[in-house]
Symmetry: C2
Subunit: 238 residues, 2 copies
Amino acid sequence: MSDDVTPKKAWELVVDWVEQRILSGEYTVGSHLPAERELAQRVGVSRAAVREAVRTLQASGVVRSSVGAGAAGGTTITGAPHQALTRLLRLHVALANFPTPDVTVVRVALERLSTGLASRRATADDLARMRDLLEAMDDDTLTMAEFNNHDTGLHVAIAEAAGNRLASDLTIAIRESMRLPILSGLAALERWEDARAVLRTQHHAIVDAIAAQDAPQAVACVEEHIRSAYARMTSLHP
Amino acid sequence: MSDDVTPKKAWELVVDWVEQRILSGEYTVGSHLPAERELAQRVGVSRAAVREAVRTLQASGVVRSSVGAGAAGGTTITGAPHQALTRLLRLHVALANFPTPDVTVVRVALERLSTGLASRRATADDLARMRDLLEAMDDDTLTMAEFNNHDTGLHVAIAEAAGNRLASDLTIAIRESMRLPILSGLAALERWEDARAVLRTQHHAIVDAIAAQDAPQAVACVEEHIRSAYARMTSLHP
């Protein structure tokens, strides 16, 4: 599955060793890594390479090291690293490693899922948060960037109301990665007032359907909203 | 958006600094990071912290350092890091940070998307690869683990035929992360021969529909396949 052609570095061998044990089920949340010296011996690399690997795994949110312990000695597999996943996904999409039309269809699939779940599970607090964002976007004095931030916030609020963290993490990461291209798209529009009116109407329709627990309607509205926004932008840059 | 309560470490400040510039669009693929000394001054941290941050960004596939250059001096934003994303996603799902029912509905949404796209775009080579895997799974002498590896391979082959790398990366990472729980589920079945016969029939139906370019049928088949497999497993461990 790898495109790598360069030989692996010593620290990468250590990361691979740990990952294999996670994927095989030998290591689960709370498992301790071997002490630094022992891990270095087992993989056949230097202790410095082990320290580099542990730092990388920490940055990925896969392990956590206790304060005061050695780099690997007090290192355990961790269970709450979803920010690391969200951050990396957002960066990769932002770096445009994926063409916008491809991102858009994935976004439609994920937002359909999140919106459908939110229609069944949104609490009164979730709905109040969505209404607050709708109201904020009704303010004609907002700059385009402010409007876009609230717009992102509304999509995040809907995803978080879905009660499915994998679905919401993926939805949010993709929506946030598109904050800038969406803002550029808005800035290129000739008539921002017209576009804004369409966006407001669509946002209200989505939230009304979620509040009415009408999942099919909410899902249809969110798909139409994303597809029409994408079509409006690509008609400017075909 | 962060749940962090501990103060950020010096290297994290550097990572944040780089990430902000990626998300704002200032840094794109090919952009050079400032030299190590300059970056240390701008963020207000030590050069050692910059080196740690660069190593972390390398491990995430976000930057690449040229051979022979200093840690940050010859460091550029990179554009082909999708293995890093896939790896991290697979690890996080494997660590069971997400409940299986939640992963299953996300998997259904992504495999519906990938299968639908594959029905429109699969080449003769893609279809031949799928047929080879179907044939391999028709062998009654395979162990359950061998069968499961081919099963994973078929879902990967369908995703790769979708021609949408974000969709296929996400689909593959989630399917691969479930290799072990799926194998455990199979091992708990009383009558493996019966379950195997159902899986074979379902796999053939999915590939037949893709080959016939019948996207609605292929999508319905893959959803039924995933949901019925999940129901069979949870009936054992309710």
